[in-house]
Symmetry: D2
Subunit: 384 residues, 4 copies
Amino acid sequence: MAGNSFGNILRLTTWGESHGPAIGCVLDGFPAGMDLCEEDIQVYLDKRKPGQSQLTTQRKESDTVKILSGVFDGKTTGTPISLYIANSDQHSNDYRELADCFRPGHADFGYFEKYGIRDYRGGGRSSARETACRVAAGAIAEKFLKELGISFRFYTAAIGNVVMDPAHFAPDLLYATPTNMPDAEGSRQAEALIQSCRENKDSVGGMVRGVISGVPAGIGDPVYGRLDAKLAEAMMSINASKEVGIGDGLFAGSHFGSQNNDAFYTDENGIIRTRTNHAGGILGGISNGADIVISTAFKPTPSIASPQETVMTDGTPKALSIHGRHDPCVVPRAVVVCETMSALVILDAMLLNMTAKADSVRSFYKNLQSGSGEEPGTTESEES
Amino acid sequence: MAGNSFGNILRLTTWGESHGPAIGCVLDGFPAGMDLCEEDIQVYLDKRKPGQSQLTTQRKESDTVKILSGVFDGKTTGTPISLYIANSDQHSNDYRELADCFRPGHADFGYFEKYGIRDYRGGGRSSARETACRVAAGAIAEKFLKELGISFRFYTAAIGNVVMDPAHFAPDLLYATPTNMPDAEGSRQAEALIQSCRENKDSVGGMVRGVISGVPAGIGDPVYGRLDAKLAEAMMSINASKEVGIGDGLFAGSHFGSQNNDAFYTDENGIIRTRTNHAGGILGGISNGADIVISTAFKPTPSIASPQETVMTDGTPKALSIHGRHDPCVVPRAVVVCETMSALVILDAMLLNMTAKADSVRSFYKNLQSGSGEEPGTTESEES
Amino acid sequence: MAGNSFGNILRLTTWGESHGPAIGCVLDGFPAGMDLCEEDIQVYLDKRKPGQSQLTTQRKESDTVKILSGVFDGKTTGTPISLYIANSDQHSNDYRELADCFRPGHADFGYFEKYGIRDYRGGGRSSARETACRVAAGAIAEKFLKELGISFRFYTAAIGNVVMDPAHFAPDLLYATPTNMPDAEGSRQAEALIQSCRENKDSVGGMVRGVISGVPAGIGDPVYGRLDAKLAEAMMSINASKEVGIGDGLFAGSHFGSQNNDAFYTDENGIIRTRTNHAGGILGGISNGADIVISTAFKPTPSIASPQETVMTDGTPKALSIHGRHDPCVVPRAVVVCETMSALVILDAMLLNMTAKADSVRSFYKNLQSGSGEEPGTTESEES
Amino acid sequence: MAGNSFGNILRLTTWGESHGPAIGCVLDGFPAGMDLCEEDIQVYLDKRKPGQSQLTTQRKESDTVKILSGVFDGKTTGTPISLYIANSDQHSNDYRELADCFRPGHADFGYFEKYGIRDYRGGGRSSARETACRVAAGAIAEKFLKELGISFRFYTAAIGNVVMDPAHFAPDLLYATPTNMPDAEGSRQAEALIQSCRENKDSVGGMVRGVISGVPAGIGDPVYGRLDAKLAEAMMSINASKEVGIGDGLFAGSHFGSQNNDAFYTDENGIIRTRTNHAGGILGGISNGADIVISTAFKPTPSIASPQETVMTDGTPKALSIHGRHDPCVVPRAVVVCETMSALVILDAMLLNMTAKADSVRSFYKNLQSGSGEEPGTTESEES
């Protein structure tokens, strides 16, 4: 409602400003009894951590996460999981000049118009630093989804005009190149482009593609609760994203029905599948069991060192050259943000889906009563 | 939560199946005291009404709306506005054959997997007929936004490979061509393409573009409540939509920051504006006062008369040719759906925005007490 | 949010004014596959229907419910269930006099101050007629809860100073006396009191008690999602209710811990129970398996025929005697409203509870996979 | 939804366990531009701080609050306010014995049944220590409400059978006696009763009464959004509360309409008031401008040192005497919890109320435009 929460049964609330003492989040509604430790989360945070290569901002942040609640004896307890990440390497002085002017392409002006006050240091709340909280919380959701047999392949699909050739996709290169483009040659070209942007005091955009495998058919809700609507909302809520497509996305607009429909067939295990996957795994807002495919386009980093025209808070003109420390391209670090946000969406939808059938409710409560070791109702008590 | 509601302060809940007795909706949270009659809504419904030309399904529905509550003496009362649209021209027999099989590209399979039961008649709840309720409710929001000086220009920007030349945009042709493409020549070509699809027992996709002018700067919320995230969710929740972009959208991904940033300047009236509008009126999720630009791509209608491969509920193969009555292209009728959905998003965000500043709250309640005619707190009482 | 919806996974939205064409509601999130017909709902509506005895308003309403959506082939489909109840016996002329004045003890003044406009006919939206929608929707929830082995005993516990002796409780008299007090002698006395109120142009209050048996231990949520908090909210949202207690309620305030604690023991079936039930079945907001006991106090009907002091809309004084048709006591008809509202709360909490344990989620999805190729509706029941 | 959040536009999410490293909360949706410092919050926390007298638990907690976000240059920014309170004086060893058994009257059993795992140390999440977060967040809401001319008088109205005589109410003794009963003599008696409970290894319940003055008429929402329903939910969500009443509450049930109705009149300033206030300031769920009066009954502390019958996790019987450190009566410390929770409810309703009238929306946005070019933060205040 007020903007800093996301999800329904599984609900994330994040807080914190770029140059405050810390940032953090509360993940509520996560099921009890999953093994969880800080390292499970840290591995994801390390994928978006700044200062790892010349391609990213030189701000150094360990982004070390602390679990403050919701975990006991190494297991989630069902109570809110509070995560805390200290801010350590703020250079607020870099932002003094920005206190009274609006950076082109940034949220400064809108926040000021809305609230009449803004924390200009590092963009305050509008800083992409907030995405560290999404990654931390989403890592917990993704860990559980992996236990349920769901896998994620998110990567940089394009940087500027360097578009990865799908034929070159190398699974073993996921998160293994400086650009997070899983294609050695493509990544080298993208890297060169980003470097030239840095030298030209410029920046560049790109695209993140995600493929989620193993989501069962039937996940998602009708009408406004569509799984693709929730994924689009999630991706478009990430800093700098400007477009989201599912499956063939935009291209479906120029296709004929005879090209775009995915024929159904039954495989050797009696499972209903589609011959093609133009739909990207979602039909009518509900998963059909095929891979879910999401593409998100990101604009170039608005903070550039070359001079730009802007105005002061009082409206007087100003010529601005932004110094500070910024990524010439947000895409490499955005990959894990898209991945973990999608995990939050999928798990939330899967939790809600458990209540979709009267028979599911009946058997859940019948098992709870009968209470033999086999059934869901009581396997849990064996944990103790 | 359960999928059939949308919005926060202004909340829409829709109900009804394609071949049930009726469809309808409840719009809750709409401010009291706006003039409203059924005709105000009907003009919008008539823009999506089927059976108006050879380009659309031949199903004849008057789509006559009845207001059942929330309006008294010609004014909204602040209580829920219940709208009712009877279904009149169902041909359920057309769907008998579909009772036991899954139509490629349709929601049938997902709904069946999720719920274990489905109303196969005309797609039941997954039918695009539900969008009539969005249009009816959104029409009320749009009427109010127009009173607030906000205007909407939504139109067909492409049908298949017929892409409208922006230079040909003719405002007076909005909703005035059979394709809803406001370009006489482009529309003729698009019309020809749709006709050929019908003859080829095929269908085609396209794109709707929307431009919203007059939204003040400062509308939208941080992080997950971003105005663009809410618009993306809204557009992606519309049947057959597959991609949503804001401003330059996808193209921002291939641009450099120096191209993509919109410089700020102060106009002759002392209003801060941007020289360009690559951002599409939204930065950091909050409006900047420039036109809000949204593009939504729609897939081709999945119901086509040519034979397709599919399976029965029990998994056995089936060759299917869909008869019934279907639009060979959903785009022309989707225009007003996109327009009215965006109105619901914008008004909801503008209502929430009223509480963003402590000073706004202070003056609202100070005025309520002081009660002189000039202030918001009491102008209302003059209604009586 | 805007006030006319209730619940989370199971969400009710009601609409309609006392003297509009109809009232109705939408129940979203109800599980698919439960048998449901209009008669299942009508039997509950008939328990609150007016005009059945001298004790209630003489307004005659058949309160016949129509199901407009969400049910197919006699089963719920998981899509929104839209219920419609026509208004038939409005005497709006009775209310002309009330158009410009505020009835003491009524919502008139508050609605006018809030909205600046009000439908004065029969109280418009603030009329207790709205509770028919709660009963209709709650009847559906209660039907399902009964299938799950949960039973409800709600009754009139007091009318004015006529307090039912718990020792006289006669289960076979539930809903079988004109006062809905299941005690022949107590009911006679209460009836006499209500009659004397009618003769004295006065009205009287009372209390409804409810006992819900069979709710498993572990239902409800921590902190703000407490089951007792949700029940209190539900009861206090019913017209004319002024106090809600759980278990010993108020009396717990004057007790010692040694009196109030309910000792735990294990019964012959190995089930953990409590020796007493001062807590009313809820501890820390979560059910403990004992009977849930709720008491709700209702004020006397504010509409009385004897003269009262009040003011006109413009503030000028007025002496008012309310004619129209009103219940001298709301309690008898409130019983089924409390019962069905509690059913909505319990079912919503039980649905959410299915997601509380990671092991429940794991086994749900494990079974879904193992069940592939078979009729999804029954996959789960194979667990047992 | 998942239970740890409360409110709509103004939304509180709390986290933390009694014996974890810290507890805290996030308050989202608070308007921007209010002066706020930690001391503003601390004064409220100090009112519930344990270890201040023999009447309360001897656990020593400074309950020092840190503001981690949402405040810049001493003003709220409109972004989430994150509050952090370290836990310092845990004696977890006191709870070892409780790891495998269920304390009578406590949430232990319910949490274990629901989640299959529980943090038994100090009750974990179910500990009343969570209420410190409610107080911290509610203090911020109350500060703002006071600026708006709304005042709060909450106090201990009864401890066991020691019921304060309203005639003895001494405003200057609010929060000034060890029992928080603002009546010197009554407080002495209550204190003696609590002391005797401690000596008898027993505990006792009581009641908190609250009076909120200055809430304008028209606050609250229809049907399920009733202000009294929200207050009842809020009070019943506080640990150990068992009953909530508004105005005359329970007594209204035994009254006649002619006694219970509050006559309207117009005062010398032309303001419409009521002669009496049986309704407790709320009619039909909406405020009428009179004092809002809430009474909440609390059960005796379940943790008592005298031996009790209970069972182990595995169901085997156990005789339990609870040592640890506990309040023999929760009421004195519950007063400020009730007060601040009510502030959250009232402010949330007042924020939503700003959108109730179309004219309010019109003038808000008209003023926003007229104010363009000037400092947005003050535009509105120019209205007055």
